[in-house]
Symmetry: C2
Subunit: 201 residues, 2 copies
């Protein structure tokens, strides 16, 4: 590597750093975020749990409500047990709607899960609440969309909330601070690979 190349690189990076620092300096607001992870790709719930883990790294408390999943065992639930009472976990869903095959039961389960969500959101000891697969309950009208979005908008100051699931409703996206669409560029299920321990569950 020639010195001149090094020097060009350095000059370029000094400029880049100035741009970067100016960008960072413009961002001054601190607030509890409403975060939505949606889209057909993998990683919506997984990223929400990764965020919970990051929060736990600072000794802060996290609440989780699972709206749909819950009929089956997941590794993340066991892993979070390592953090004791820093994690409050409610598995309220009884599985996908094609598993229960009972609309009334699905609606009742969603309502009970939402009550738990409100409880966690009101608890001042909790910094982050994950509402896992809430988007599914909203998509199938198991819950009143306007009431849910209003409560999310009126969350207490400083509270971060992550909502996951495909097909996020536009009203929810409108209310959110951060929306990520997970797109499936390539998926191993299409190649006949089955759900595996530690990857899908």
């Amino acid at each position: 590597m020639k010195t001149s190349e090094d020097e060009r690189h350095k000059a370029k990076m000094i400029k880049r750093k100035a741009v970067q620092d100016a960008e960072v300096a413009k961002k001054t607001i601190e607030k509890g975020l409403l975060i939505v992870n949606t889209g057909p790709g993998k990683g919506k719930s997984t990223a929400a749990f990764g965020l919970a883990l990051r929060m736990l790294g600072y000794g802060r408390r996290v609440g989780v409500v699972q709206f749909i999943k819950g009929a089956w065992h997941t590794g993340e639930k066991d892993a979070f047990a390592a953090f004791g009472d820093k994690v409050v976990w409610h598995t309220m869903g009884e599985g996908f709607t094609w598993e229960t095959q009972d609309l009334k039961r699905d609606v009742a389960a969603a309502a009970a899960a939402w009550e738990k969500a409100l409880e966690l959101m009101a608890d001042p000891s909790i910094s982050l609440v994950v509402l896992d697969e809430l988007n599914i309950a909203l998509r199938y009208d198991y819950l009143d969309l306007d009431k849910v979005v209003e409560a999310l908008r009126n969350r207490r100051e400083g509270l971060h909330v992550v909502v996951t699931g495909r097909n996020a409703r536009p009203t929810l996206i409108e209310a959110a601070d951060l929306v990520t669409e997970m797109g499936a560029v390539k998926h191993h299920f299409s190649a006949g690979v089955k759900a595996q321990q530690g990857i899908e569950f």
Copy 2:
């Protein structure tokens, strides 16, 4: 809710379950996956760490190499300490290239990180290796793309590897089993919100 509505729902869900079960039955392959989380949106590293957490929930071991981040403190690193020697963590990066401003140093750091990656990938006690921000090192040609992809393709049977970072190279995408593109639908940085503890770091 009328009974007839319940019955229609049930009939629909029975059909849906049959389709779903047939889909699942077609998937019979078990294999260690090469997973790539890319795109401009949030959640690439976060989802990788969520996957690591899921694996830890089954008592399986996880390895992490951070190629770029590492000049600053992150919550997830502290959180993983709760799992003791189940997590092997190497922070090799010295920050973004506009922070170091030294191309030779960046190239040397990437080469050292890749050595650690090969070590973890060869360790039979490890089920999942996270190569955090490897895409950045590949994008800037800090590492030989073909050599890296060849080593990833030749990973030992059953080993899952997750590569994160924007602008994944097409050669890597070609070799991967699962590729997710995180798209930024809406980002709080655009609204002047700064990086916050537990969310960005």
